[in-house]
Amino acid sequence: MTGCERDSADAVIDKDGMDALITILAARGRTVVGPTVRDGAIILAEISGGAELPYGWGVELEAGRYRLVARDDGAAFAHSAGPQSWKTFLHPPRVREWSADRDADGTIVVTADDTPVPAYAFLGVRPCDLRAIAVQDRVLTGGRYGDSAYRRRRDGAFLVAVECTEPGATCFCVSMETGPAVGPGYDLALTEVLDGDGHRFLVRAGSGEGAAVLAELPSRAADSATRSAARDRVAEAADRMGRTMPLVDLRTLMRETLDAERWNDVTSRCLTCGNCTMVCPTCFCTTVEDVTDLTGDHAERWRHWESCFDRDFTHVPTGPVRDSPRSRYRQWATHKLGTWYDQFGSSGCVGCGRCIVWCPVGIDITEEAHALNRERGRSTAQEAG
């Protein structure tokens, strides 16, 4: 539903308009997924009305720390990335690929899994996450061997992006050039504005279906005050990034620091628990598992998320290829920031900061990159001296 970028007229909706948006998307047969408060966090879940959005909730983020906090302004989208990303829905943690049954005469019949794919509408896709979806599109469907199930979920998804006006202390989308303003790929884009003129959302359509949905919404023409307030809030957000990446070519930095002492330092802190890869909106690795039942006449192949931090991820008959925690952390970071370019033509990091927040011990990929950059500088200086 995306890819048809055009300058359609913008409009303004209020909270009733937000309710209507959810109702209209649901009426179009879509499963609407958006942010909602559950278990002390703003998670992504199926929602049926605007009341389930996290109005009046924000988050405080730090390395290894996430806290839900009440906000006085009643904003719905003044929170940064939560514990999940949209890959939970587009690239689910566990899917059955096929099942096989053996008949009485010994014939084996294999049946591809045809569980219907929901037509999703994602409400509240951050610019960094919109880029992450584009990255996964490239990874999972860009090559010769596309993931058809991903493509079905993705092709059917309607994306309502929300520009970022409240970055977290762990955000660095400006460094990765993925936000806080929205990039291409959305069906609708919203910017939340709260000021003396009220609580409202500036809306633009980015696709034909987006324009059709926008036309159905109870809206009013965008006024210049709302437009400039929206622009200002996004511009201010860009100045409030909690983190930055070093201003160097990260791909080169990774290539030139493969033997850095810093990898030992970070490994002494890393738990190899895999959380960073699970929360990363671009990490895509999976493994397959074949299961049989007691009769041995029924088998299934399941695919589930896997992680380069799992020793068994690189298990071969002689043991794991990447056995040391050092080799596993380094693989993750250098792939994410470096070799991803060689493989997929872009960075694998979108600057959402989830890996920093949800690392129990708070390992910070930006801090590690800065440290590697400093170490490279010192060794270059020594060589020159």
Binding site: A41, P93, T272, C273, M278, L294, R311, P360
Partner: protein, 268 residues
């Protein structure tokens, strides 16, 4: 495995034996707890030795032995050798069999002293100074973790055995399971002490999903970093005694937990 034939030429069902050492019986009860699948299991294997279920036993050797419990007496040492000798494939089930169980707390104390305090005739009691896992005594083909074991994983081990394949039992951390089922991290979001990052998966992240911290009943994962992890427990409110206690439960004698708890104790 179901390839053997009886002398008459009919295919022979593999035989299953269940053995108990020092344990609470909870893990072998998990087999009886497979209510919907139990008849299916009984159709596929001859349950030849399972005293918890029936006093009728058939002689070995057995194709698959499930061993519950730890080795705590001189007689256990002899018996486990016998079990190994009569078993083609020996699978240990549960924290007692795989790590020594909660009874391995004795490893930190003087057993003779306990005996003197508790028993009128301590000389009647023949107990070893330590509680040790089965693998410390005989070769083990597969270890299934947990206190108790997970029913689904037990079925997986049995069905994998019947199909001649490796059981799909991941060895990574519980965090994988939280993330895959969409459970918000209780440590990061709430500051709740949780052993998940160093604990072996298998339970499906039962405790974090109920909003509480993992207490490590599946023992250490295959890739832990306790020195980096323990400071998290302290940050989230545990003192040295708390840390020692949380590490010294069902898997106290597991190498990684044991080493970390001894390090902590030195600080006291």
């Amino acid at each position: 495995m179901p390839t053997d034939e009886t002398p008459g030429g009919a295919p022979r069902r593999p035989t299953l034996a269940v053995w108990k050492f020092a344990s609470c019986d909870g893990c072998q009860l998990t087999l009886l707890d497979c209510e919907d699948e139990l008849l299916g299991i009984a159709e596929k294997v001859d349950i030849s030795h399972f005293l918890e279920a029936s006093s009728a036993t058939a002689p070995g050797p057995y194709d698959l032995s499930l061993v519950e419990g730890s080795v705590t007496t001189p007689r256990d040492v002899e018996r486990i050798r016998h079990v190994r000798a009569v078993s083609r494939r020996l699978v240990t089930i549960g924290a007692c069999a795989t790590a020594g169980g909660v009874q391995a707390l004795r490893n930190y104390a003087d057993v003779a002293e306990f005996q003197a305090v508790v028993y009128a005739r301590p000389d009647y009691v023949a107990a070893l100074a330590t509680s040790t896992p089965i693998a410390a005594h005989v070769p083990v083909d597969f270890e299934l973790r947990g206190c108790p074991i997970d029913r689904g994983q037990l079925l997986e081990v049995i069905t994998a055995h019947l199909a001649g394949r490796t059981p799909g039992v991941p060895r990574h951390s519980v965090c994988f399971e939280c993330k895959q089922r969409g459970t918000t991290c209780v440590t990061v979001a709430h500051g709740t002490p949780c052993l998940g990052p160093v604990t072996h998966a298998g339970c499906g992240a039962l405790c974090p999903t109920m909003g509480r911290g993992c207490y490590g009943c599946f023992g250490p994962s295959d890739s832990t970093n306790l020195p980096a992890f323990v400071p998290l427990l302290r940050r989230d409110g545990m003192d040295t005694l708390d840390v020692v206690r949380v590490l010294r439960t069902f898997n106290t004698a597991a190498e990684e937990f044991d080493a970390a708890s001894r390090d902590e104790e030195e600080l006291r």
